[in-house]
Amino acid sequence: MAALDHPLLERLRDAMPNDPEMQIVGKFMRCDVLLSSGDKRYLLRFDHGRLTEIVEDPHPALAWNFALKAGPGTWERFLQDPPPPEFHDVWAAAWLGHLTLEGDIKVFMQNHFAFWRTLKLLRIQAQATSGAAA
């Protein structure tokens, strides 16, 4: 089972510039996103389809646009391939109470398509790693 952690986010950072789909959908992507998995927190800064900065356990004074907050179990299910029902999509998990979406929802909606691809890449990276470990 893959976990949302710093090494996985670094692989996401490396994958985004090489992803053909991200080159198309990420042209106007610009958002700062807080991801939390239990008590672990990561501030991710996205710009033009790239993950430009990963801040682990960010200072409370650092601002972000929107946040996805969930427990480690939710992220593990989300990162499976195929993910189980209710954990296969951010909307699904938020809708059904497995994940909390907070902050400026307008920015989330403006970046929805590119951020959706970002999370797909996150799952691909998680699976590549878990496959290699097995």
Binding site: P82, P85, H88, Q110, F113
Partner: protein, 286 residues
């Protein structure tokens, strides 16, 4: 060299309703029992192309899929620019029946998904004498939460936002090409149309106190995919338990758009239902 054509034909028909003559586009294929297919919110009848092309279905059914006004090739009524579009249960159910009357369909089967599934409950309640059977896909008595302003907000790309919001309603097992095709349909809705449809889906459609009023005289099948989080299997099953004679069928490895996201998996569940309706076979489900 002979070009490859599908057996599907498209036509326009004028449907009078509420003082308007609606110019309605529909596609059809097959012969037999009329099977009227209703598209989901914010998109159009292209969702039904696989069933229109399926000889196992069209050999016994006249499959007809139409675009609701303001959707696909069915243009809005004159003066649409002066009102905010909000679909209601009354208009929607009456319009489906007006379309059936215009084509002089005799006791059709009505099959719809999402908002097209929810409206089946209203048709069962108010038009049972004119209907042979109802197949309500991804339907339940109350589906709140989708009347969302961001879907028409000028600061948000409407096509991308509407389409990406529904992408996650599909199952990861559904073929990529069909999920992207469904995304494409959603990216093409008119401004505010998806949200206006969702007024019916999430606000005006509150059937919770009406379930018990359905007589059960018309067969009603409620079919829902396990990856649907707008209308979960639990929501469908709870509704079916309250409606006399209703049968719920839960579909594995499929989501909110069975007919367009995974026609092969959907067919496994649909064919027994269609066979039962035409008097062969013994029940729904795969």
């Amino acid at each position: 060299m002979t070009a490859l054509h599908e057996p599907v034909t498209g036509r326009y028909v004028y449907v009078p309703h509420g003082g308007h003559e609606y110019r309605i586009y529909y596609e059809e294929a097959g012969d037999g029992i009329p099977l009227v297919c209703l598209h989901t919110a914010g998109t159009d009848a292209r969702e039904w192309r696989h069933q229109l092309n399926d000889a196992d279905i069209t050999s016994h059914y006249r499959v007809i899929a139409f675009d609701m006004p303001r959707h696909g090739k069915s243009i809005p009524p004159v003066g649409f620019e002066r009102e905010e579009y909000r679909l209601t249960a009354t208009f929607y159910s009456e319009f489906v029946m007006a379309f059936c009357d215009a084509l002089e369909l005799e006791r059709p089967v009505v099959m719809g998904s999402s908002m097209g599934g929810n409206i089946c409950l209203h048709i069962a309640l108010n038009f049972e004498e004119k209907i042979r059977a109802l197949i309500a896909i991804e339907a339940c008595d109350h589906s709140p939460g989708w009347y969302i302003s961001w879907l028409e907000h000028p600061h948000v790309h409407g096509g991308e936002a509407c389409a990406t919001s529904v992408y996650g309603l599909m199952a990861p097992q559904s073929p990529d090409e069909y999920r992207w095709e469904t995304w494409w349909y959603y990216a093409q809705g008119g401004p505010g149309i998806f949200k206006g449809d969702l007024y019916f889906y999430s606000v005006d459609h509150d059937f919770r106190k009406l379930n018990e009023k359905i007589t059960g005289n018309v067969p009603l099948y409620l079919m829902t995919g396990v990856y649907d989080f707008a209308c979960t299997p639990e929501m469908t099953e709870a509704t079916a338990q309250k409606i006399k004679g209703a049968e719920s069928i839960i579909m594995e490895e499929i989501g909110h758009f069975p007919m367009s996201e995974n026609p092969v998996t959907f067919k496994r569940y649909l064919m027994p239902v269609l066979e039962t309706i035409r008097g062969v076979g013994s029940g729904g489900g795969a």
